[in-house]
């Protein structure tokens, strides 16, 4: 057995290293990713080992980073872009939605946009403005992009390699509040494909659909709910686009009740879309309206009150109460 106990940050680092060793076309580009190893040290040591042509400290310009990655992809490279924080992806938004997402369709499949855009996302780390946002809904809303989000070191190690190997562009959302959590990483047994949601805890009363940092929060809520005699089934999406609806629907058919949990604001969001789709798919199995637990329709608040903004165990249990109130 070749398992190792790694933080998620280190697991992504090892995944990047593995992908670079396997394929000489894989290269990294971003701000401060060279000597510094990125502000979260996810690329630590890679420039030293692979050189400045493969690990590029870019000028401070996100549109430049992503736009150049598009051109590199056209030449057959597999660039992995690092956006330093979620709130700094917007200068690149135009390149992402206008070029990254559409070049394959526009060129009739000639150009493979085999690039990855890594974004440390979500909050909960006591940071200042623009460092705690959840932009994934913008990207999930855009056809042509895949959106993945690992939630533990083992998945992260394998999912980053899967994203890099994919011929589609992947927005790779890394829940930064979980970077330092450790898990066993088995380097010989690949994780399930990113497009398969994973049931993290089985239960028969309520299906809890979640992703990102909220997965851990939901598992804590499930533990607390057990004390009250309620069994929550916690499903980690892993892929936000596409969503593994067959797995979700199978669970809903069993439980008849659904909560969708994520940090993002609720309006026109991934969570809202999942709720709508599951109501369509599982209408006859549902015993209660689908409830969302999310951030609020406000700018991410100052860190001293982020606790009250983020989905927490209490709010999740409150939602459980609400869906359980409906008699079957």
């Amino acid at each position: 057995m070749t398992t190792e106990n790694l933080t998620m940050a280190k697991a992504i680092n090892e995944g990047l290293r593995g992908a670079m060793e396997k394929d000489s076309k894989v290269m990294l580009i971003g701000e401060d990713i060279g000597k510094l190893g990125g502000v979260f040290r996810v690329t630590d040591g890679l420039q030293k080992d692979f050189g400045e042509l493969r690990v590029v400290d870019a000028p401070l310009a996100e549109s430049g980073i992503v736009g150049a990655a598009v051109g590199l992809a056209m030449r057959g490279y597999r660039p992995v872009c690092e956006i330093q924080f979620d709130g700094f992806v917007y200068p690149a938004f135009d390149q992402i939605v206008s070029q990254v997402a559409k070049q394959h369709a526009r060129s009739g499949g000639v150009y493979k946009m085999a690039l990855v855009i890594r974004i440390p996302f979500e909050g909960g780390i006591g940071a200042i403005e623009h460092h705690s946002e959840s932009p994934e809904s913008y990207f999930a809303h855009t056809a042509g992009l895949r959106v993945y989000s690992p939630t533990n070191a083992y998945d992260a190690y394998w999912m980053i390699q899967e994203a890099i190997a994919s011929d589609d562009p992947v927005i790779f959302c890394e829940p930064k509040s979980r970077y330092w959590e450790k898990a066993e990483v088995d380097r010989e047994t690949p994780a399930r494909p990113a497009t398969e949601a994973q049931i993290r805890r089985a239960g028969s009363d309520v299906t809890v659909v979640t992703y990102g940092a909220s997965v851990k929060t939901c598992l804590r809520a499930a533990q607390a709910a057990e004390g009250e005699g309620r069994q929550l089934e916690v499903i980690d999406l892993r892929s936000i686009s596409p969503v593994d609806y067959p797995t979700l629907a199978a669970s809903v058919e069993k439980t008849g009740r659904v909560i969708v949990v994520s940090e993002a604001p609720p309006v026109a969001s991934v969570a809202g879309d999942i709720a709508a789709t599951l109501s369509e798919m599982c209408f006859y199995s549902l015993r209660a309206p689908i409830v969302r637990v999310s951030g609020y329709h406000v700018p991410y608040p100052p860190s001293r009150i982020e606790e009250e903004y983020l989905p927490n165990v209490d709010r999740i249990l409150d939602a459980v109460d609400r869906v359980m109130e409906f008699e079957s």
Partner: protein, 354 residues
């Protein structure tokens, strides 16, 4: 790129040097005033750094090394002018009269802003690199339409100079002859990346591509920064359009309290710049040429110490915002989504009159 001549009126040894284009217009007592400004900024900034170390601030971006660039530029702003900072411009905030405690609010995580930007004619910090420059140009276009006797100055760094927003801001400013001054603090680093990662030419040369003047000034020489900035603002106010100033300076500290500069830069470089300290040269000058007494400097240090103490006390007694305040001011007009969120938080027991 370091060999390019720059405007200097006071050399690192504290000797006045003459320049063919600029002359210092400041009296010794005004110069002492600028020294005081710089000493206070440095002291308050150190206090903020230690407050962060003690867990009282989420983050702090130190200004050490850049005091002359900021105090010189800030001193040149007229009361009616408007400034658009990035996140490190504590010296400009000081010159605009923003109370020091207000600079810290954002870094403590109790607000997104910190002060009334119109009251001080100084915008709240902009953290997304480059955004503010375009906003500054738009503000300047408004001044043009009002035929007002005002100018705008916006601040960004060597790293910021790479952003598309900065390019667009310069294009707009040039095309519309907007009364705006682009003030670049080239402090040699953008977190871990040296200036060579952002440009092949001295940054002030870029101005000519946009059709307006650019100048490099010794950013550690407060006399020169003041004169160069004053002229640029005067030009803007009198209809002569935009200009760009590159203040050549150095970030003596870490990028922020989260940063570890030993991973990417050499101690020797720091040493070189220590010899060019912006405060020391003014002090030498005042002592040698104007017989200023050590007691004057001691008094300033004591005053700064007291202000640091007040700042600490003020910060420690800052209340956390009420959770419901996250819904305040999101929209100017009533919005049902806000009401729904507020109601939900109240129902969860977070204040209000549920």
């Amino acid at each position: 790129m370091d060999e390019v001549p720059m405007i200097q009126l006071l050399n690192p040894e504290g000797e006045r040097v003459s320049n063919s284009e600029y002359e210092s217009s400041l009296t010794p007592s005004e110069i002492l005033g600028l020294y005081r400004d710089m000493a206070i900024i440095r002291r308050l900034c150190n206090e903020a750094t230690s407050l962060q170390r003690q867990g009282q601030l989420a983050l702090w971006a130190p200004v050490q090394g850049q005091e002359a660039a900021q105090i010189g530029a800030g001193h040149a702003l007229a009361a009616n002018d408007f400034s658009f900072p990035s996140y490190r411009e504590h010296g400009i905030a000081w010159k605009r009269g923003v109370p020091p405690l207000d600079w810290l609010r954002l870094f403590r995580g109790v607000t997104m802003g910190g002060w009334d930007p119109v009251k001080y004619r100084h915008s709240n910090p902009t953290i997304v690199i480059g955004n503010q420059a375009l906003n500054a140009v738009g503000y300047a276009m408004g001044i043009q339409r009002d035929a007002a006797d005002e100018a705008v100055m916006t601040f960004f760094g060597d790293g910021g100079s790479s952003q598309g927003d900065i390019h667009e801001a310069c294009v707009f400013a040039g095309v519309f002859n907007a009364p705006v001054v682009f003030f670049i603090q080239n402090n040699h680093w953008a977190i871990s990346e040296p200036t060579i990662r952002q440009t092949r030419i001295p940054l002030f040369h870029r101005a000519s591509g946009y059709g307006f003047p650019g100048v490099r000034v010794d950013g550690n020489d407060v006399l020169a920064v003041y004169e160069v900035t004053k002229r640029a603002l005067d030009n803007a106010r009198s209809g002569n359009g935009p200009s760009l100033i590159e203040a050549f300076t150095y970030r003596m500290g870490a990028h922020t309290t989260s940063d570890d500069p030993t991973r990417y830069r050499l101690e020797a470089e720091l040493e070189t710049w220590r010899l060019r300290d912006p405060l020391e040269r003014v002090k030498s000058y005042l002592v040698r040429s104007h017989n200023e007494q050590q007691s004057t400097f001691d008094d300033i240090a004591a005053e700064a110490d007291q202000m640091a103490l007040d700042l600490r006390e003020g910060l420690l007694s800052l209340p956390d915002p009420a959770p419901l305040s996250m819904f305040d001011h999101v929209y100017a007009e009533p919005h049902p989504f806000i009401e729904a969120g507020r109601r939900e938080l109240i129902d969860l027991g977070f204040g209000g009159d549920a």
